[in-house]
């Protein structure tokens, strides 16, 4: 994307006010997507985003500017603006010399999506639509979405880093509405990987559509969720988003540094039940939150955050790590070249325990079984959260019984960690997600085995 010579000149311009650190992040992203709704392919969409963000750090101040103009004058103007914003005290010149580009091994993509004809992408949508509708006359609406993106990035900084990555992601989702006595109910399935069109060797879109339809149909017969505090069993892969939101964010070093985390100052302490190990792992090949390098040029890493109940470390980006005199953990990410990087998760999960998942349910006399959590919201400073349940059942006398609908789980992340009293051996990753923080969205994965929380508040509508 950019030659070493142009990179060096731009970094030198960015450092002209005597800054401590300067960085260029260049990005060239092409994406395509197609949406089917109400039986029609609404449209195929193509997108192109290309530009560079220049960051200049001087003391505790960061200056940032971005440009869609990757020519020498365009980059010089952005470097100027970023340097002026950072306004370092010293002044003077500093030579920056990056040498040959050092890129990590490229993530293997067997079938680059840009080489797949558009009609094949559209055919996936119509196949899913037909499969969902064949699940029964109660299925009244189907929507499906295909999306792919190829994101080439280049990172160079005043410490001599000069590296690049080529990230390809492919996503498919299908949503169904079923109509019956309880009104309209929805069901959804999605699959996404850091991979090309070979995603569809792993996932059959017709199967996905049938599962989504079944979810919606099941909810037609569901009863309103109960209200009150009770044991909650979360199925494999179904609840990772809870730990991402209610625990993971509190382990991000930028929030910790501002004491906006319940986990601040608690490294070495027991923060979870002794069987709980929480990991963030950007190296999991193919997973939605996987990459070769982060958006500051650091290799993705496997970071154990909580080990057997003890808090071991936070997640770090370059800026926060630098202040602590340690290395970044490879968690510096940004939505695009138009954004500053910050500490972000990758694939965040609770590791396997050794219990038989069937025994966990059998040991629960009454409560709720959550097969799939929905979206949620969390206050990272307190860990308080609310999550919807998109597929859930009652547990009565140790058995999963009637489906329930439209309830929320409400609780506190750190409390939940200490209240996990059973962990299954059936780990699975959940659905691909987009994590939002400070207005920036990045792709993330999550996962859990079957697990039980001894007490959680269920907010349902049952009288």
């Amino acid at each position: 994307m950019l030659e070493a010579d142009l990179v060096n000149r731009t970094l030198a311009a960015a450092m002209r006010t005597g800054a401590d650190f300067a960085e260029i992040f260049a990005e060239d992203k092409r994406s395509s997507s197609a949406v089917l709704d109400d039986g029609r392919v609404e449209e195929v969409v193509s997108g192109r985003d290309r530009g560079a963000g220049i960051r200049v750090v001087s003391g505790d101040t960061t200056g940032f500017a971005h440009t869609a103009d990757l020519s020498a004058p365009g980059l010089a103007a952005a470097a100027d603006a970023a340097a002026a914003a950072a306004r370092g005290g010293g002044g003077g010149t500093r030579t920056v010399a990056v040498s040959a580009l050092q890129a990590p091994p490229r993530i293997e993509v067997r079938i680059p999506p840009e080489e797949v004809p558009k009609d094949r992408k559209v055919a996936l949508l119509t196949a899913a639509d037909a499969a969902a509708r064949s699940a029964g006359g109660a299925i009244t609406q189907v929507s499906a979405r295909y999306g792919d993106g190829r994101r080439r990035i280049l990172v160079a900084d005043s410490d001599g880093l000069f590296t690049s990555d080529d990230q390809v992601r492919t996503l498919f989702s299908v949503s169904c509405v079923a109509t019956g006595d309880t009104g309209m109910q929805t069901g959804r399935e999605s699959a996404g990987r850091t991979a090309g069109f070979e995603l569809f060797d792993l996932y059959d879109v017709e199967d996905m559509a049938r599962r989504a339809a079944q979810r919606a149909l099941t909810k037609l017969t569901a009863q309103p969720a109960p209200s009150g505090t009770m044991p909650v069993v979360v199925g494999p892969g179904g609840g990772g988003v809870l730990f991402h939101e209610a625990c993971g964010h509190g382990l991000e070093a930028d929030l910790v540094a501002k004491s906006a985390s319940v986990f601040a100052g608690r490294v070495g302490e027991t923060v979870a039940a002794p069987t709980v190990t929480l990991v963030d792992d950007g190296t999991m090949a193919g997973e939605w939150g996987h990459y070769g390098i982060d958006d500051e040029g650091r290799p993705a890493a496997r970071n154990v955050l909580i080990s057997d109940g003890v808090l071991t470390d936070y997640m770090w980006d370059r800026l926060r790590a630098r202040k602590q005199g340690r290395a970044s953990s490879g968690n510096g990410r940004r939505q695009s070249y138009q954004h500053l990087p910050m500490v972000r998760m990758t694939n965040t999960f609770i590791d396997n325990g050794d219990a038989n998942p069937d025994d966990i349910v059998a040991d629960t006399s009454h409560g709720v079984y959550v097969a799939q959590l929905g979206g949620g919201q969390v206050n990272t400073a307190t860990g308080d959260f609310v999550f919807g349940m998109t597929e859930a059942y009652l547990i009565e006398n140790g058995r999963i019984t009637a489906p329930i609908r439209e309830g929320n789980l409400i609780g506190n992340g750190p409390e939940v960690l200490t209240r996990i009293d059973a962990l299954g051996d059936d780990f699975a990753m959940g659905s691909p997600g987009t994590c939002g923080k400070d207005g920036q969205g990045v792709p993330v994965g999550d996962g859990t085995p079957t697990l039980r929380v001894t007490a959680l508040t269920v907010g349902g509508t049952a009288a």
Partner: protein
Amino acid sequence: MAEPSLLDIAERVVGWSGAGVDAEAYVAREHETEVRAYKGEVESLTAATSVGIGVRIVRDGRQGFAYAAALDGDTLRETFDEALDNSRFGSVDEFAGVAEPDGVAPASLDLYRRELADFATDDKVALAVELERATLAADPRVTGVESAEYADSIYEGAVATSRGVAAEARETGCYLAAYSLAADDGETQTGFGFSVGRRPDELSVQKAGTDAADRATRLLGAAQAPTRRLTAVLDPYVTAQLLGIVGATLSGDAVLKGRSLFADRMHDAVGAAALTLVDDATDPDAFTASPIDAEGLATRRVPLIRDGVLQAFLYDTYTARRAGVASTGSAVRGGFKGTPGVGAHALRLAPGARSQAEIVADIDDGLLVQGVTGLHSGVNAVSGDFSVGAEGLRIRDGETAEPIREVTIASTIQRLLMDVTEVGSDLEWLPMSAAGVTLAVADVTMSGS
């Protein structure tokens, strides 16, 4: 030669469409500054201009779309060609098309303030630093400020279609936002505060800082409450969030696709008699005001619910054609990267006569809901089921009492609207597509311990 205007660019691009091809070009340019203060210093300062174009093509009833974040000649051509190619793959839809002039003149709205364009960077930095200080000073229990920022935007947009629509708009906006941390007795709570304006002198550092401190401290010591049915009094901010959901159920798109609770309820009483709801982007006091919609048609005042009776749905060009009605100028889009859809611009309830305090004084057993969470996960806009996390103050015998957190409030959207007992007099525009106002709702389930 002068730089071409955004409308010149949009008209040039739609001019490439030949016979049998309809085109729409949306072109936007935005200059933004954002300053974050931390511990009395600038933590980050971002200054950038972004531009982009979205091109929509309709040919033989098939629609295609492409966008790019650049406006150079090669990019414009490539984007147009890509959209044209994409149109081969859409389903044939006799109602697909771009907007045509409908004779409604855009309201004369002056939403651009030169004072903002001329506002010096040093003054922006000073506001952010002052905001952090004011937030810390507002209450001794405020222990930190997670973020204190000043941000502004100078936006210009233009839309042209091959059917003769040619419209442009520009506006300025700025805001202050603070997130505070408050601690007492080992417990930490957070709160946000903001102030919004079209030019910097409309911003209040004091209001943003004090609100951030109040929101964080008012919940200190809060506890769960036992499950019960009671009257909920929604703070204006909460009401505005709720209106956003109600607005979505009134979109012509939801109605046509069988996803609206109210599809078959036109001219029925769908709410209490106290409810009158309009969507009006021509109201210059709304922060989301705009003379034109996302397809370049004039926005207009749309009365949705009058005295509880459903009067209208919102339509853009496509949904209006499909429903056999006229567009209500309700096309919205998230930016140049997306196609237009239907949505509310600026929802407003007709205010009542009494203040929040007067309303609370008449309630024996209630909850003043000051914040809700999980609105997106907990509200099913299709079925109407509604269950969200809530925090606020208990109301006992006409007075606000102890703080409550970690409860949920549940009902259905249908019941909620019917159970409204009163709308407050405290209407205020918020930085979202709805105005806030106090709303009292009877017979809501609060779930807790």
